[in-house]
């Protein structure tokens, strides 16, 4: 590579990094507690541990659960029911309208085996919610998502250019050499290089899957206007529903239609994740890969019949698969710990990058920086 080309690569590395560094520091710092959000939430969870039940305890009636939730909040309607298979508790989500603003309404937790309901709670904003919003949308919704997504793209450019400018440094150095005793700057340069290289693939994967996650809202919108609209098209001109068929029956129908899957959540008719006339029962598999994917079964909310069930399109599956790869929550606690260590190393790489840039600015004030002389070791 010519000296000139290298200089351009260096400029790409410098500017892409400089623009996104502050945001990435924020993402790394907020991401650290988010890796362990399940563990942290379990500590502060005020709900009692589920009671032991005999194995032959009767299956609960979900219609009674719904009726109980509505009795507790008579002025609200049911929007969603969460049935996360890994949790002992399910949740009924109610709101004043079917499509309320984000923080309007109540959550009614219930024991999935006894059917016992807890008192409804307004969605609270605790510390972890604040951290999550800082990590995802900076409290400004879609523009925040897209801004952070752009920062993720800059990170990818910074990583690629970083590998290119790494090459000339290492012409005379063994991998992972850290030259101590010459100058603090040289030592940090070597550390920046080795730590950047050791975490490269992980940072790249977490970065790219993070960018895909920032597109969650447009992706869901695309699905609603695409596959979901197609699946519910025959009902386009159907008269509005007068009464709702049994949720319990709808769940039974969905389970019978796909016995290898289990329901994760149900969107009630009229919500954004269903049509005006269907229960949308979102199912997932039990194998490591299929448990990351969702398959919606649409149940006619008048007759209780299954009307359609399809695999989600590729772009939704890409989003669903990219989520565990970003969160690190798919290999139990030790994987989360590895995730946290890699995250902290990434913070060191970011910090040392700023230090190197700042130090050089002070060394040659106002001068156009030449490519670092790494070969003269």
């Amino acid at each position: 590579m010519t000296r000139q080309a290298l200089k351009y690569w260096y400029l790409v590395h410098k500017w892409t990094s400089l623009v996104c560094t502050l945001f990435l520091l924020l993402l790394c710092l907020t991401g650290l507690p988010l890796i362990f959000h399940e563990e942290i939430e379990a500590i502060f969870d005020s709900h009692p541990a589920p009671k032991a039940l005999p194995v032959d305890a009767p299956a609960i009636d979900y219609d009674k659960v719904i009726a109980g939730a509505l009795a507790a909040r008579p002025d609200e309607v049911v929007r969603f029911v969460g049935l996360e298979p890994d949790d002992a508790y399910g949740a009924v989500f109610t709101g004043k309208t079917l499509i309320p603003p984000p923080l309007d309404g109540h959550v009614h937790l219930f024991d999935k085996r006894s059917g016992e309901l807890f008192a409804p709670e307004p969605p609270e904003t605790d510390f972890m919610d604040v951290v999550l919003r800082l990590h995802t949308d900076l409290f400004i919704g879609l523009p925040g998502y897209l801004l952070l997504g752009t920062m993720g793209l800059l990170l990818v450019a910074s990583l690629v250019s970083g590998v290119v400018v790494y090459t000339p440094f290492m012409r005379k150095l063994e991998f992972a050499t850290v030259r101590t005793g010459r100058s603090r700057r040289l030592q940090w340069l070597d550390l920046h290089n080795v730590l950047g290289m050791v975490t490269l693939v992980w940072v790249m994967v977490v970065g790219v899957t993070g960018v895909i996650n920032t597109l969650a809202l447009p992706i869901v919108g695309l699905w609603q206007n695409g596959q979901l609209a197609e699946m519910t098209a025959p009902y386009k001109n159907a008269p509005p529903l007068k009464t709702l068929a049994s949720l319990h029956g709808a769940l039974e129908t969905a389970r019978a239609a796909a016995p290898e899957l289990e329901p994760v959540f149900v969107a009630f008719p009229g919500t954004l994740f269903s049509s005006q006339h269907h229960y949308a029962v979102f199912m997932r598999g039990k194998t490591p890969v299929s448990s990351k994917l969702l398959k919606p079964a649409l149940i006619d909310a008048q007759t209780g019949q299954l009307t359609d069930m399809r695999d989600m399109p590729l772009y939704v599956r890409a989003l669903l698969i990219s989520q565990p790869l970003h969160f690190g929550d798919y290999g139990r606690l030790p994987l989360k710990i590895v995730w946290a260590v890699l995250d902290m190393i990434a913070i060191v790489v970011l910090g040392s990058g700023v230090y190197l840039w700042w130090g050089r600015r002070r060394l040659v004030p106002g001068a156009e920086p030449a490519v670092e002389q790494g070969t003269r070791a």
């Binding site: 790494y166 090459t167 290492m170 012409r171 005379k172 150095l173 063994e174 991998f175 992972a176 050499t177 850290v178 030259r179 101590t180 005793g181 010459r182 080795v194 290289m197 050791v198 490269l200 693939v201 992980w202 994967v205 490591p288 890969v289 990351k292 698969i321 565990p324 790869l325 798919y330 290999g331 139990r332 030790p334 994987l335 590895v338 260590v341 890699l342 190393i345 070791a377």
Partner: protein, 71 residues
């Protein structure tokens, strides 16, 4: 000696391949697959860190004025 691309990138390449294996393994299976993920992603960090500490210690003993500490 001017090192070629292979010499420069053989270790980063190995670590990168291990990381790829580690990222995918727990996604594709449970149990042993999870353990493979922990090791493939975690071991390079531990090894690079440990070898660095070890070399530094040894060099401090043998040659206090050493200017370069490989690894």
């Amino acid at each position: 000696m001017r090192r070629g691309l292979w010499m420069i990138f053989r270790w980063p390449l190995l670590i990168g391949l291990l990381a790829t294996l580690g990222l995918l393994s727990a996604l594709l299976g449970d149990g042993l697959y999870d353990v493979v993920s922990w090791l493939a992603l975690g071991m390079p960090l531990i090894i690079v860190g440990a070898v660095r500490v070890w070399r530094q210690k040894r060099l401090r003993h043998q040659a206090p004025e050493a200017q370069r500490v490989p690894l």
